[in-house]
Structure formats: C-alpha cells, structure tokens
C-alpha cells in the first residue's frame, strides 16, 4: 500500500469526493429527482392558487423558496443513510481524520449532487411562477447561499436520526424550525428586491450564517453521529 503515515485532511477529502462522485455517476438519474420534486411543488401551488399572473408573480419568491426547501428536506434522508446501512459510518468514527471533517466533505458533496441540479432548474421554476426577470439574479444568489446552509443544518438533524428506521416525518419536524431563519432571510431578500430596496442585508446575513454553519454544523453533526451510534 502507500505511506503508512496518517492521511492528511486533503487526501481524506479527495478520497471521499472521488467515492461520492463515482457513486453518484452510477446512479445519475437520481440526481434529477429533487429538481423534479420542486417542479411538482410549483405545479401544485399554481394549481391551488389559480394561474393569475399577478398573484403568482407576487407569491413567486416565497413559493420557489418553499419548493427548494422541501425538496432539500426530502433529499436529506440520503445524506448518511447509505453509509449507516453498510457500516461505513462506523469506519468514519474510527478514522484517523476528524469525523467533523468527513461530515463537512460529505455534506458539501451531497449539496453539490442534490441542490446544484436544483439550482439549474430554478430558471424553469421562475418562469412557471412568472418571477420577474430582474429578480432572477437575487433569487439565484439567495438560493446559492441558502441551500448549502440548509444542507449543513439538515446534516445535524439527519445525524441525530441516522439510526432510526422510519425517521422521515420526524426529520422534517426537527429540521423545519431550524430552517425558519434561512427561509426568512432568503425569501425576504428577494421580497426586498421586489419592493425596490437593496437586498444586501438579507444576503449578507445568509452569508454570515453559512460561514458559521460551515464551522459549527459539522462538529454538531459529528457529536450527533457519536450519540446516535452508541
């Protein structure tokens, strides 16, 4: 084998990234599912509220955010479940690199593979909801900052419930209160832009939250994994 010294953070990250990308490639159809779900949610909203252009355009930022949030919530189940089932999570706990680091890399890869296709679908969703064109950049920026934050917060909750068999609704119940600030600042910044104000306030708060979560959430999730697997 290669060197007997402990792997560096970078080499562990590289290995995990390569593994996740390879696994994703083998099931690349699955990457479309969150996007399809979000489109369906938007369709349901449009059907429920009526297709009146003004109404949908005013509701668009909120509805779009909720659709993205809910589809991210559904995708959360796959964050640790596969590894928990085949025993890889136990190996992570025993690994010579910090568990929080592995959690961070895994969460970011999960975001890349579930939320990034979703972000690509946002223009389609925006068209369906008649979101005004000038708001698209703010929307994409807010989602770009918000979705990793949702993934990181979701990772903590997902780690808490990783041992359970039917954790689905409990996972949503635990995650949604924590999602409230992200939703408020994300949809709120787009709403501010819609009213003609500067959306920088909400966006900067999202960015600050993201930075904090990048540091703190993996540690909390690692603690949760240790608790859940004892």
């Amino acid at each position: 084998m290669s060197e007997a010294s402990t792997p560096t953070l970078a080499s562990a990250a590289r290995a995990l990234v390569r593994r996740d990308l390879r696994l994703l490639w083998r099931r690349r159809g699955d990457a479309l599912q969150p996007a399809l779900f979000a489109i369906l949610v938007v369709v349901l909203f449009a059907l429920a509220m009526g297709s009146e252009r003004e109404l949908l355009a005013r509701a668009a930022p909120g509805v779009l955010w909720v659709a993205v949030l809910l589809s991210g919530l559904l995708a959360l189940d796959t964050l640790f479940r596969g590894d928990a089932e085949d025993g890889s999570l136990e190996q992570w706990r025993l690994a010579p690199v910090p568990l929080a680091w592995l959690v961070l890399v895994r969460t970011l890869m999960h975001w890349l593979t579930t939320a990034a296709p979703l972000l690509l679908a946002v223009p389609l969703l925006a068209e369906l909801l008649y979101l005004p064109r000038p708001l698209w950049p703010v929307m994409l920026l807010a989602l770009g900052l918000g979705t990793p934050l949702l993934s990181l917060l979701g990772a903590v909750v997902s780690a808490l419930t990783v041992g359970m068999r039917r954790a689905g609704v409990l996972l949503a119940l635990l995650a949604l209160p924590l999602y409230v600030p992200v939703l408020v600042f994300g949809a709120g910044s787009v709403a501010q832009a819609a009213q003609g104000h500067d959306p920088a306030g909400g966006l900067l708060l999202l960015a600050a939250g993201l930075l904090l979560a990048l540091v703190l959430a993996p540690v909390a999730a690692a603690t949760a994994i240790r608790i859940a697997s004892q």
């Binding site: 910090p98 568990l99 929080a100 903590v156 909750v157 808490l160 419930t161 041992g163 359970m164 954790a167 409990l170 119940l173 635990l174 949604l176 209160p177 924590l178 409230v180 600030p181 408020v184 600042f185 709120g188 709403a191 501010q192 909400g202 939250g209 540690v219 909390a220 690692a222 603690t223 949760a224 240790r226 608790i227 859940a228 004892q230």
Partner: protein, 274 residues
C-alpha cells in the same frame, strides 16, 4: 466506547475525581449536588419538595391573579382586556427560560453524562411546551379584542410558535429512540442546537415582520407599563417559577422511577414485597 471527555479532546485527560474526596471533607453545597445525582436520593428529594413548590406556586399565583383582576385599575386604552397580560407575559418568559434550562441540563448531561441531568433536561421539555401553548392561547385570546383577529403574524407570537415546534422536536426525538440514555443525549444535543438558533430565529422573525410592515400597529408595549400595573406581574412571575419547579421535579421523579424500575430501592419505595 467513549469513557468521558468530549470527542474533540483526543486523549482522556484525568477528570476531577469526586470519589477520592471523602464526603465529610466536601463543601456542603457541592456535596448536596453530588447527592442529588443519586437516583434514590433524588427520588426522596423530589417527593418531599415538589408538593411544596406546587403549593407555593399556587399561592403566589392566586395573589397575583387577585391583584391583577381586581386591584389594578383598567388600562386607559385597552380597558379590562389587558389583564390577560398577567398570564401571557409570565408564561412567555417561562417558555424561554425552560428552553434555556433544558439546554443547560442537556449540556451537562452531554459532557459529564450525569443520569439525573438527562432526566431533568427531558422533564423540562413538556413543562416548557405547556407554557408555550399557554402563551400562544392567551396571546390569541388577547388578540381578538385588540386586533380583531384570533391570530396575527406578530413577531412575538410567530417566534413562540416556532419555539413550540422546537419543543415538540425535542419531545419527539426523546420518544423516538429506544435506549433512554442515548435518546436523552440526542434530544439534549437538539436542545443545545435549538437554544443557539433561538435568538437567530427571533431576530429573523422580527426582521421579516418589519419587512412586511403595514399590517398591524403595536398598541401595547411592556416598556410603557405603569408602575401600578407591575406588582401582579411580579407575583405571577414568581408563581410560575415555583409551579415550573414543582412540575419539573414531579416529572423527573416519575422518569427516574421508570428508568430504575427493576432496582431494589424502587421496589422498597413502592412497597412491593420481594
């Protein structure tokens, strides 16, 4: 498995060993805390003091209610309907205080793995949730004469609603895991995450409300409360605290007995013959 010290510590540093300090040499306060960590001692303590806490709570709340309903003059703007504030405000304060207490016990339980702290943390959750429900209900009842509507997306009521869901989450997670100790520790971690997120949630709801202003105007603010209206509020605050102590002790005692169910001391306490 882990034998103490946080996961991030690496090697196990020697923890302060209470066992090598004879009980007679301990500071009495420290000894009292130490003794409370023993399930049988805690059971006797809770059995003895919970009724007193309830009684004191009832008495102080009765005084507070009497003063609030009959003695304090009516508000010049709101008339008599403001009096529900004497239930609403102490409940709101208790709902937040119980969450902080739950996170505090939870943190001790996670770090030092003291069984009684796990039990106390989990006992705080339903009590806090009840206070949150009371806050929401009284807030809604207050809103009808004030704003003409049963519900208003007022930042305070909205953040109380999110707080209620955080409580439900902790209770639900505790109930969902089989092993009681692992369940308590997972729910404690959730409580800690919740207590960190709580100010953020509160701030975000206030920001959101200011964003979508123009719906209702705040008519009553605590800061402008007249001095003559204050005494019942203080009585009620003290009363709810005592009531909460009684509730937490009673619930913790029940949980403790349930967990230790097979042990001899429980059988003796329950009067069961061997």
């Amino acid at each position: 498995m882990e034998t103490g010290g946080s996961p991030a510590c690496g090697r196990a540093a020697p923890l302060p060993q209470r066992a090598d300090v004879p009980m007679s040499n301990m500071n009495p306060v420290v000894r009292w805390f130490h003794q409370l960590g023993s399930p049988p001692y805690f059971d006797r303590f809770a059995a003895r003091w919970a009724p007193w806490a309830f009684a004191l709570g009832l008495a102080t709340m009765a005084v507070g209610m009497y003063l609030g309903l009959f003695v304090v003059p009516a508000d010049y703007q709101q008339g008599d309907s403001f009096r529900i504030l004497y239930i609403h405000v102490p409940s709101a304060w208790m709902s937040m205080a119980m969450f902080a207490l739950m996170a505090f016990y939870g943190a001790i339980a996670l770090v030092w793995r003291i069984k009684l702290c796990e039990i106390l943390a989990m006992a705080c959750a339903p009590v806090g949730a009840a206070f949150t429900l009371i806050t929401l209900a009284t807030g809604s009842i207050w809103g009808k004469p004030m704003w003409g509507t049963w519900w208003d997306w007022d930042p305070r009521l909205t953040s109380q609603l999110v707080l209620l869901f955080l409580y439900f989450g902790v209770i639900g997670l505790y109930a969902a895991i089989e092993d009681r100790r692992a369940a308590a520790r997972a729910a404690s971690l959730l409580a800690i995450v919740g207590v960190v997120m709580l100010p953020i949630i509160r701030y975000s709801v206030v920001w959101w409300n200011s964003l979508h202003q123009g719906q209702t105007i705040r008519v009553f603010g605590e800061s402008s409360m007249d001095a003559s209206m204050l005494p019942p509020l203080l009585w009620m605050v003290v009363g709810t605290k005592f009531w909460a102590i009684g509730s937490v002790l009673a619930r913790a005692r029940a949980d403790n007995l349930q967990r230790e169910a097979g042990k001899d001391w429980v059988r003796r306490a329950a009067g069961v013959e061997r």
